[in-house]
Point group: C2
Chain length 176, copies 2
């Protein structure tokens, strides 16, 4: 069975931070109103794979935003599911084998650590990065640790009115 | 006297590295043949302001590439000039006052530390960043230390055949 396709959809400052030092996303606020293609991307996936930190952030939202999707949380400490989510652990290939057995075909990997780990393991297929016109100086980096060197293939670029530039890449086979 | 306009023209990996961990630029090699607008940018400046490390790198080149420009090197340890370059030191505003008195109108700030220091001091006016389609994992970061938070205004984008995306920003007045 082919493994599911895995894609990430992230926003970062020009200097590569996906969140402020305290995890806050205030720097993205001025750019939230714009249509970034998130809805179309979200509609294209059947499964969300969340990192533990992202999961905990989402639990704090007023509403669970993923009712219509299979949600899996990468965590070594399973807990009681609240919205049908399940907990998975292991290396990216075995996680993807589990997801494939459940019927996943297109996975949205969300959270800096998940994206970094899947990229490092050669298990990320596509990356959409919206670069907001801000230098943040400090914060949480796009890649939580070094994912190694990888060649990318630019698939598309979009420039939004606000100055956000959205770059979509496919990962090229093999390592950089 | 108005201070000179200061611009930077840099290339970085998607994860924000301007050089490999050892200072090497091998990751840029596959993209060097393309026309990136460097010649036009270079023609538009009258003065180069180099960081000490960039200066030492350039001294190792077969030929001094800046014969037709005023070259100033930011260094606290002046040495014997080899190609008419002069050494300057001090905070960005005083360096710019010195350059203005020498007739500089448009300065090309080159080197991660110079660009970071001038941005931090509110003395950078424009930044062109060519993002190569590579995740490098480790290396020397675009900003050598935190330059603080800054709002940028996207001036233009260019997408090259190789997948390099060139973004040009103007710095917005005031701090982020």
């Amino acid at each position: 069975m082919d493994r599911p396709r895995v894609a990430a959809f992230l926003a970062a400052s020009l200097d590569g931070f996906i969140a402020e030092a305290d995890g806050g996303l205030g720097f993205l606020k001025p750019f939230e109103k714009e249509e970034h293609g998130y809805a179309a991307f979200y509609a294209s996936v059947d499964t969300l794979l969340l990192g533990r930190k992202t999961y905990e952030t989402v639990l704090g939202f007023e509403e669970w935003p993923f009712r219509d999707k299979r949600v899996r949380v990468l965590s070594r400490s399973p807990r009681k599911p609240r919205f049908g989510e399940r907990f998975v652990s292991g290396e990216p290939p075995s996680v993807l084998a589990t997801l494939a057995a459940e019927g996943a075909r297109h996975v949205y990997a969300d959270g800096g650590e998940v994206v970094t780990g899947f990229l490092a393991a050669g298990c990320l297929d596509a990356l959409t990065l919206s670069i907001v016109p801000v230098v943040l100086g400090t914060g949480i980096r796009l890649f939580a640790h070094s994912p190694g060197t990888h060649r990318l293939s630019l698939v598309s670029t979009r420039t939004l009115e606000s100055g956000v530039v959205q770059l979509t890449y496919a990962l090229m086979p093999g390592r950089g």
